[in-house]
């Protein structure tokens, strides 16, 4: 089973202090650490689990500058076989649609049974690349995937809906699955695998190589800003038991309990 996993390098923002840069269209990234997007890491593990079961090859693809080679190499160390990085000066300020076009230009010439993406990127939160890429390739897709079982060319996938509901759908391969976090427990790369991955050659493709002059963009960022602080926030004072009692009272008052 040949699998493609699309991964993205994103800044770790969960515990970092976020500031908007002077031009107001991006955040200050110099002081942030970067890593593979969380959901993409789960997508990769899902691919490795399927490869262990059915054999085949895993190809990683990422759009980005040289720094993103690190996440590709870590992906190789965790079980992928090949890695492709697509980079070009023209490929900056991408939205989900533009990224999907770039990925499509490469993937259309590669054999695959399944494409995995993460269900959302933690930086822009668009959730568009997976479904758009599937549409461009003319294959079915499922988003927010929480489990996959493949049998005779059909994948039974579970999708996470609102209010704790799960939907089960059967999808004919080839297909694209946008994976939800928590679907598995991503493994740690072994030291031997790290050694091999560190020296492996990566394939680097430019705009010319993939025959895409300039992707079309549908989203233009006008400005980024920190939401103004509203007066609705209330700090509950007191010892933990007192504060808990007050909190319970408020929840009750608002009719949430």
């Amino acid at each position: 089973m040949d699998i493609i996993v699309c991964i993205k390098r994103v800044p770790e923002t969960a515990e970092a202090e976020i500031k908007v840069d002077p031009n107001g269209k991006d955040i200050v990234k110099d002081t942030l650490n970067f890593d593979i997007n969380e959901a993409d890491n789960y997508a990769l593990e899902e691919a490795v689990l399927l490869k262990e079961k059915f054999g085949g090859k895993i190809t990683l693809i990422s759009v980005g500058e040289e720094e993103c080679e690190h996440i590709l190499r870590m992906g190789l160390a965790r079980g992928a076989d090949d890695a492709i990085r697509i980079t070009d000066e023209k490929f900056s300020e991408l939205d989900g649609f533009a990224t999907a076009q770039i990925l499509y230009s490469v993937i259309k010439d590669i054999h695959f049974d399944i494409i995995f993406t993460g269900c959302i990127a933690t930086d822009d939160g668009y959730s568009q690349v997976g479904p758009t890429l599937a549409e461009l390739l003319g294959i079915p897709h499922a988003t927010l995937v929480t489990s996959i079982e493949v049998k005779g060319g059909i994948a039974r996938v579970h999708r996470e809906l609102e209010a704790g509901l799960l939907e089960a759908v059967d999808i004919k391969l080839p297909a694209l699955f946008a994976v939800q976090t928590g679907i598995n427990k991503p493994r740690y790369a072994s030291l031997i695998a790290i050694r091999r991955a560190a020296s492996k050659e990566l394939k680097v493709l430019s705009s010319k190589d993939i025959g895409l002059e300039e992707p079309r963009r549908k989203i233009k960022i006008e400005s980024l800003f920190v939401p103004p602080v509203t007066k609705r926030a209330e700090i509950i004072e007191g010892s933990p038991p007192e504060a808990a009692a007050k909190l319970a009272e408020i929840i009750k008052e608002k009719g949430l309990l």
């Binding site: 870590m74 160390a77 740690y188 790369a189 031997i192 050694r195 991955a197 560190a198």
Partner: protein, 382 residues
């Protein structure tokens, strides 16, 4: 000159940090409380290949260098010093002497087991009456036909309670003084070999530290490491190497304490502002960060010399070990101080780091011994 880690070392650091923070750090307080050996964590570490970092691939190891071993020791000890120590001992005190001084048969027999974690390793040098004074040991090995008969005991042995392979030092000829010491590989189930008193330690409590007792233990002559009389040389060479890793453990423990103190200083308020705005606290944070930085560079440098195959690294290894271990004690002490009264409680982990740091100044050569090694190296023009 290049201060950058290699691509491979950066990947290793990132992955081990992730593993250590996710899998080991949450267990550290409980292990400290119970002193229970971290069996499951060691199994997970073995799956990653952490038990055989410097063991070549042909013997089942990862075949990495000594800088990599230092990186791993730091990251593991930053999360859980006990688990970090157990793994470091397996690498640099059990596997290393066999790798450096063993016969091809010994390497083939023991290294794959140590690399896979099938059995853990330990080393027996220290005795009740012989710590810094290695040549003061009383354990003897008497040759009888195809065997050596070992008698005596060893104390304060990390991994003793769980290890299956022990590198043990004993006199084959006491008259020759330190030149009469030999090294042996002793298997756990050899008749007459038993584990004595379990040590109730101040820190590093989950390391199965105990006494080794040898009563007419018949060790086959094939298990002699090096030649008769090579023991002292093997011991010193092994300690030179492992002292780099003690330095790395120290950097890890110090970094853990610093991380917590730094976060706390930004959060805790006195006199209407976070305490990190007070100059006394800023002074402490600056000193802590600078000492850690210096210690880490010294550790990396000593490991780099080892990787270059330099025959004499005693001075640099001792400098790194001494400076880093005193840094760990100093930094953890300040971390407790920054936490104030809370730092003196078990609710905050800095008190554990403080207890853990202390032994670094004692084991594998006290700070005083390190200074003697450094001074003698200088006097010899090394």
């Amino acid at each position: 000159m290049n201060f950058e880690l290699t691509k491979e070392q950066k990947m290793l650091q990132e992955e081990v940090r992730k593993f250590a923070q996710e899998e080991l750090a949450p267990l550290a307080p409980e292990l400290d409380k119970t002193g229970e050996f971290p069996k499951e964590s060691i199994k997970k570490a073995a799956e990653m290949g952490l038990l055989g970092i410097i063991i070549p691939e042909k013997y089942g190891g990862a075949g990495m260098d000594f800088v990599s071993l230092a990186i791993v020791a730091e990251e593991l000890c930053r999360a859980c010093a006990s688990t970090g120590l157990v793994i470091t001992v397996n690498n640099s005190l059990a596997a290393y002497p066999i790798l450096a001084f063993g016969t091809e048969e010994q390497k083939q027999k023991y290294l794959p087991k140590l690399a896979s974690g099938e059995v853990l390793g330990a080393i027996g040098i220290t005795e009740a009456g012989a710590g810094s004074d290695v040549a003061g040991m009383e354990t003897t090995a008497r040759r009888e036909g195809d065997y050596y008969i070992l008698n005596g005991s060893k104390r304060f042995i990390t991994n003793a309670g769980v290890a299956g392979i022990f590198v043990v030092f004993a006199y084959t000829n006491k008259e020759l003084k330190h030149k009469g010491i030999s090294a042996f590989i002793v298997e756990r189930d050899t008749p007459g070999f038993s584990i004595g008193k379990h040590e109730d330690l101040m820190g590093m409590r989950a390391t199965a530290n105990a006494e080794l007792i040898f009563e007419d233990v018949k060790v086959p002559k094939e298990n002699l490491l090096g030649n008769e009389g090579d023991g002292f040389k093997i011991c010193m060479n092994t300690l030179d190497t492992s002292r780099i890793d003690i330095g790395a453990q120290a950097v890890g423990i110090a970094q853990a304490a610093f991380d917590k103190a730094f976060a706390y200083a930004k959060e805790r308020k006195t006199f209407g502002q976070p305490i990190c705005e007070h100059q006394f606290i800023q002074g402490m944070l600056a000193e802590m960060a600078t000492r850690i930085h210096a210690a880490r560079l010294m550790v990396y440098y000593a490991a780099f010399l080892k990787d270059q195959g330099k025959p004499r690294i005693s001075k640099e290894a001792s400098m790194a070990k001494w400076f880093a271990s005193e840094t760990a004690v100093e930094v953890t002490r300040k971390a407790v101080q920054i936490h104030g009264g809370y730092g003196y409680t078990k609710d905050y982990e800095v008190e554990r780091h403080y207890r853990e740091a202390k032994v670094l100044e004692i084991y594998e050569g006290t700070s005083e011994i390190q200074k003697i090694v450094i001074a003698r190296s200088l006097l010899r023009g090394l």
